[in-house]
């Protein structure tokens, strides 16, 4: 696939109209933190019938049976191109909003859809997909980031038929306002060393005794996406809170799959940022004059535009390759996903900073979109595995082959 289909393009035009009409006016207030992104998320979900689509897939699923019922298909009718288009169009206007949306539906909803039991999907994933509930996906801890598995301290202890959770998570998107939290913890088995402890995911609901959620943290960018901490102090959960309700398949592999999803999921966000930055930069280069000439006539500015264009085309190609593979159900290797994410994140930051440069003093002003883009793009190099971790993963695969 080298381009979207006619239907996908129509969806893209509708989403662009929605974003320009409904989201753009909210961005300043969302960025200041005066308005939360969730009402707009619900509006988006309702306007495009994402809720209706999810309900329809769930209704089709055989009651009580089959754990795969309403599986991946619950999300945009199972079309990965549609999720990419949503991520692109939201990121073009407000990457923070795209992040909040993606963390709820894609990460939290996606984890439950991929590994939950039929009952868990219906009870927790469906309301996330319909926007009734907001989801958060919690892996990172104050002492465990790049080494999230190795250094995880959050612990689950068996208690009767259920578990007791203790620990702390940080930098979790949507945590301050989440209704459904997918929380990773190590299962404490007697006689096991910390490193041998299997990691499992637990679904915890807001309001559970012992669970506290912090206020939004102040950060460099992605202001439209509330980020927070989670504190677990003797939080008792039933067996039914264990994602997949089985201890036999440790969650390490499953979480790795979500990491994988997180990496491929960032590519369209990066594309959205670059596409918008290039569009804004070209328009500005034609409009702004110095010494009586449009700045676009200066070769130093042209070089920036040409590089941004080159990066955009490369990211677009990576995106379509990824979509083609997803469509054909060909797996993307870890190195491939890492290389893609690494490249896209770096060039998104480069393009957004170059856009600021083209805009000069205006580019440094909050009033101009590129200022937000530059701060937001930096997250792509940190979240979903840092650049360094991607490099390590690529090298590991290369050297082990």
């Amino acid at each position: 696939m080298i381009d979207f289909t006619d239907e996908q393009k129509m969806a893209q035009r509708m989403l662009r109209t929605w974003a320009e009409k409904e989201l753009v006016p909210l961005v300043p207030a969302m960025e200041r933190g005066d308005v939360l992104p969730y009402d707009a998320m619900r509006h988006l979900i309702r306007s495009f019938g994402i809720d209706e689509m999810a309900r329809a897939t769930f209704a089709k699923a055989t009651p009580g049976g089959d754990t795969n019922a309403g599986g991946e298909r619950g999300f945009f009718g199972g079309d990965p191109a549609l999720s990419a288009i949503v991520a692109i169009e939201l990121s073009r206007v407000c990457p923070g909003f795209a992040l909040a949306f993606g963390a709820s539906l894609g990460l939290a909803g996606g984890a439950i859809l991929a590994k939950g039991t039929a009952a868990q999907k219906k009870r927790f994933a469906l309301p996330i997909l319909t926007g009734e509930k907001i989801g958060a996906w919690a892996m990172t801890e104050p002492g465990a980031g790049s080494d999230a598995f190795r250094s995880m301290r959050t612990i689950a202890r068996r208690s009767g038929d259920g578990y007791i959770l203790n620990g702390q998570k940080t930098f979790i998107t949507n945590a301050p306002f989440a209704d459904v939290l997918v929380i990773y913890a190590k299962l404490a088995e007697p006689g096991q060393s910390e490193n041998e402890r299997p990691i499992h995911a637990f679904i915890v609901e807001k309001g559970a005794p012992g669970l506290s959620l912090s206020k939004p943290m102040e950060k460099m960018g992605m202001h439209s996406s509330p980020t927070g901490e989670i504190f677990l102090s003797d939080v008792c959960v039933a067996k039914s809170a264990l994602l997949g309700e089985t201890e036999t398949l440790p969650a390490r592999d499953r979480a790795r799959e979500v990491f994988h999803g997180e990496r491929t999921g960032m590519v369209p966000m990066c594309f959205g940022v670059i596409d918008r930055c290039l569009e804004l930069s070209v328009a500005y280069a034609k409009e702004r004059q110095t010494w009586g000439k449009q700045i676009g006539e200066y070769q130093l500015v042209q070089e920036k535009l040409a590089r941004m264009y080159m990066h955009r085309e490369n990211v677009r190609n990576l995106l379509f390759k990824q979509l083609e593979k997803a469509h054909k159900k060909v797996t993307i290797s870890a190195a491939e996903a890492s290389a893609s994410k690494l490249y896209c994140a770096r060039v998104a930051t480069e393009c957004a900073l170059e856009a600021v440069q083209i805009f000069g003093g205006n580019g440094y002003m909050r009033e101009f979109t590129v200022e937000m883009m530059a701060r937001d793009a930096k997250l792509f190099q940190i979240g979903g595995g840092t650049d360094e971790i991607q490099i390590t993963a690529i090298a590991r695969q290369l050297l082990s082959e």
Binding site: E7, M14, F48, A56
Partner: protein, 273 residues
């Protein structure tokens, strides 16, 4: 209720117009659905669904357009919004005038026998504002133009149409079949009442977004091709555009040194005070 809606593609009004001599250069134009036609589609959908019961369809909406093949894209988007099918009459803009368009729609009305024809009050490019009126005349049907509200009455046999006029809102009762042209307030949350959807129902303001499901469903809906010849419409353009000129460029202003000078200039030169 069976409704025929007209839809025209027009150049994006936000885009700068380019000139080629005394005509418009439309080579690099971004085409979009005429806004008032999109509102007509929205009104038609609101008239033919039960919004209190999951938007269950309760009637048929047929969208018609005259234009080149590419207009399929705009027609497809109305199908994605929920219209049932479309008819595209092959034509190029240069070979059309209001009379030909109205005569063509008349033929389609005779073929399809709808209860109502809904049109935008005007097309954003030509702003001619006369297809609806001509059509009603040719058909001999009652008409209501510039509708800001529509309410189905007399058990579906007539419409009460609100029209914003200088002195306030005038309400006209038209017996079906009829021709109605819509103005922008027709997409207000409670502007359309079809007697089936609960009277208290409030829509989101503006035309609906095509849902993702709607977009996928539109793929399977039909856009029938037709032509002026097939419909038996004489294709002689009688309205001639003499020329199209760009508005004169704005002249540079002048700086005044004092309030006195400003007042003096406003009085003597601009003659506004």
């Amino acid at each position: 209720m069976k409704i025929l809606v007209t839809a025209k593609r027009v150049p994006d009004p936000e885009q700068k117009v380019k000139f080629k001599g005394n005509t418009l250069d439309q080579s690099g134009v971004n085409w979009q659905l005429n806004q008032f036609d999109e509102y007509a589609v929205e009104s038609a959908l609101r008239l033919t669904e039960n919004a209190s019961s999951g938007n269950a369809r309760n009637g048929e909406v047929i969208v018609v357009s005259l234009g080149p093949k590419d207009v399929q894209q705009q027609l497809r988007s109305t199908l994605a919004m929920g219209a049932d099918r479309a008819i595209l009459v092959d034509a190029s803009d240069e070979n059309l005038d209001s009379e030909i368009v109205a005569r063509t729609v008349q033929k389609l009305v005779e073929q399809e026998r709808p209860d109502l024809v809904l049109l935008g009050k005007l097309a954003a490019d030509s702003e001619a504002n006369d297809v609806g009126q001509r059509l009603a005349g040719y058909l001999g049907w009652p008409q209501a133009t510039f509708a800001c509200s529509i309410e189905v009455t007399d058990g579906g046999k007539a419409l009460l149409v609100g029209r914003e006029v200088d002195a306030g809102v005038e309400t006209k009762k038209v017996t079906l079949p009829a021709v109605v042209t819509v103005d922008l307030r027709i997409v207000a949350p409670q502007a359309v009442k079809n007697g089936v959807t609960a009277a208290t129902h409030a829509y989101a303001d503006g035309p609906r977004y095509a849902s993702l499901k709607g977009i996928m469903a539109a793929k399977k809906k039909t856009i029938a091709d037709s032509s002026l010849a097939a419909l038996g419409v004489a294709a002689t353009v009688r309205a001639k555009v003499a020329s199209v000129d760009a508005p004169p460029a704005r002249k540079a202003g002048v700086k005044v040194a004092s309030v006195e000078e400003l007042v003096q200039k406003l009085h003597n030169e601009a003659k506004v005070i």
